[in-house]
Amino acid sequence: MELRFTQADELFRAEVADWLSANLAGEFEKIRYRGGPGDEHHFVEERKAWEQRLAEGGWTCIGWPEAWGGRGASIEQQVIFNEEYARAGGPGRVGHIGETLTGPTLLAFGTEAQKSRYLPGIRAGQELWCQGYSEPGAGSDLSSVRTRAEFDEASGRWRINGQKVWTSLAHESQFVFVLARTNPDEKAHKGLGFFLVPMDQPGITIRPIPQLTGTSEFNEVFFDDAYCDASDIVGEPGDGWKVAMGLLGFERGVSTLGQQMLFQTELDEIVRIAKSNGAAQDPALRQRIAEAHIGLRTLRYNSLRMLSDNADDGSLSRESMIYKLAWSSWHRNLGKLAMDVLGPEAELLEAAPYELSKLQSLFLFTRADTIYGGTNQIQRNIIAERALGMPREPRGEAR
């Protein structure tokens, strides 16, 4: 058990920190700490430019192999990069879906041609991606997607029809990866394909969905005879589920410590307010603030265990199965704690008509944390079934 990073890793940390402090300045000063969850609509153009600056410095996709422009960075180095990025106030990354989801999927399952076509754009911070999984009829039960992909013999391309929903950042993206049914006679996990689809085409319509925050980070995406090339299917028709599930395992917790650093900033702000407005004298709030502190430290050591266990085999450890449930519940409670510490002040907006303060955004948007990426109920099912070996949920007949 070693809590500290090695000297080599600490040198790497210093290199990251130096680069960030030199570059996250000047024109980019104003985007520090911006564009995170609930704030995605701010400084979008500046953040796109920043993505390219990162790329020029060689700080995008650092975990990718060198052959594809990465640094082949170790898990530890990726963790360190994310920590330093958060510490420096690095803005929300517009390219994160491509870097953490599309890229690793192509590296694992893609053809050489797909890698050559798509990896450089992601690596350069120029081509942004979004995730087309959920549909009106397929949320937690992702395997019931109905969006249809047919091979069109005439054009020699895949033709896609259907609808996706809750598609984050679709309006900023050049590409979407789509889970669609290639064989309508097969149900559930069978007969699916995984497609790489350009967004800018007549067959795709994007409609933003206003959220409880008054902003719209996610969208409806309609496919009416949208097309992608014959070569834009990852794996074979029928492999879609395998590819889609593989993708969920790639992240491996490297961003968790960086994420926790943002959580710490939020908790620090709550502590600061509590000390200034008298909430710090309330015994019940004192208990809850202490509990938040303990909970955040728990997440940290959970992550360290998870990252250490990942080091030698790819299988998901017990710690990683509980992680989503643990952090999302903690963060949602933090949002409510922020409001309770503020008391009546919590109601006052920054400005009319509906400009939220950071803590108000936190309060409202953390309700989504326990929903996206597998709801808390689904997480509990996964823990009970995979970690504790309890029976699987019965399935109803698909309607």
């Binding site: 303990i294 728990t298 265990r305 509980i322 997480q379 009970a384 504790l388």
Partner: protein, 377 residues
């Protein structure tokens, strides 16, 4: 950064599991509970001869294994899983205290006796809600010390050959004295307690006189506080082990039990409770391993008392609540048999309750953290 056990550590824990499976099954625990002393002396001797856990923390030049708190905590976790009833925690607590006293022949002699399998216990508190040190006073004169007062919740005090007594002297300094159990005027009796797997004693001293040489350390209030924070981490290890066992036996039970034509483990209300139990115990375990690393850093002089106290408060709050949640939920998942004497889940439930308020409640530990975060500027 490598937050995982080494192969050697895993081997120690596997050996511990195997030994405890042999000597501390349900029947053995119940026999120990029913005995006067609350443990089986043969098992204790075997532990001292074959496992040598009593020497785990003792430095090599004193004849011990000189391993760390990470190893100790891992062993105590296994002991907690098995509801192990033996003076292990009490002896480790005494060892930790002795090792912080200035080196002396008296100290070395006591460490040697521990290594040989004798038991030493620590009386450090009156045993009130706040667990403050005290309860016993020392009037010190040139050639003798007179000890007076009482101390409660002395873990395995009734069976210890030697008692380490923390007493405030005329100047309100806290000193530590070593006394033989047979010392005239010293009376140590087992308390009747709800949890019978961790025997506790009450110590009463009526004008006990000792030579000044019985004093192992003077003005050691801060040392004792640090040692009690290590103690909290040791107890948390037991709690994490117990919380894991409460989850495991409950999951085994619900997989077997059928109602409405299916195993009750297939009901989501049951699955989700089990998932919450696992989330709690894994969280507490993560903090436990952190706290064990901090205890090692503290011993080596790299971590200060405040860091140790913070770690102890965090893990005590978390592990105490996880254990109680898991054992309480475990009873619910068992249904009626959870209320019987026969099933072990009730034993975990009682040990969870006892450990949760030992050396401070979760609310006390959180208040400690709150003071760090919120008081002062």
């Amino acid at each position: 950064m490598n937050f995982r056990f080494s192969d050697e550590q895993r081997m120690i824990f596997d050996t511990a599991s195997a030994f405890l499976a042999e000597v501390s099954d349900s029947a053995a625990t119940r026999a120990a509970m029913a005995s006067d002393a609350g443990f089986n002396p043969d098992v204790w001797q075997r532990l001292c001869n074959e496992m040598f856990w009593q020497g785990l923390l003792i430095p090599e030049d004193e004849g011990g294994l000189e391993l760390g708190h990470v190893e100790m905590v891992g062993v105590l976790e296994k002991a907690g899983e098995r509801l192990f009833s033996a003076p292990l925690y009490s002896t480790v607590l005494a060892t930790t205290l002795l090792l912080r006293m200035p080196a002396s022949d008296t100290r070395s002699a006591l460490l040697a006796r521990i290594l040989a399998g004798e038991q030493v216990a620590v009386a450090h508190t009156r045993g009130d809600r706040d667990w403050a040190t005290g309860g016993i006073t020392a009037s010190v004169t040139q050639d003798r010390v007179t000890l007076k007062g009482s101390s409660r919740f002395v873990s395995f005090g009734h069976s210890a050959e030697v008692l380490l007594i923390c007493a405030h002297d005329n100047e309100q300094q806290l000193n530590v004295y070593g006394l033989e159990r047979e010392h005239p005027g010293l009376c140590c009796e087992r308390l009747a307690t709800m949890d019978q797997t961790r025997a506790m004693a009450q110590l009463t001293l009526s004008d006990v006189t000792v030579e000044p040489s019985a004093c192992l350390g003077t003005d050691v209030e801060h040392v004792v506080e640090d040692v009690l924070n290590v103690a909290r981490i040791l107890v948390a290890a037991d709690q994490v082990g117990g919380a894991q066992a409460a989850l495991d036996i409950s999951v085994d039970y619900v997989k077997e039990r059928q109602q409405f034509g299916r195993t009750i483990a297939s009901y989501q209300a049951i699955k989700h409770k089990a998932a919450d139990m696992m989330t709690k115990v894994e969280g507490a375990r993560s903090l436990l391993y952190y706290a064990a690393c901090i205890a090692d850093e503290w011993r080596a002089g790299y971590a200060d008392s405040a860091t140790l106290a913070e770690a102890a408060a965090m893990v005590s709050a978390s592990a105490g609540e996880a254990y109680f949640f898991n054992a309480g939920t475990g009873i619910q998942l068992h249904g009626g048999v959870g209320i019987t004497e026969e099933y072990d889940i009730q034993l975990y439930f009682k040990r969870a309750r006892a450990t949760e308020s030992y050396l401070g409640s979760p609310a006390d530990h959180r208040e400690h953290i709150a003071r760090l975060l919120l008081d002062g500027d």
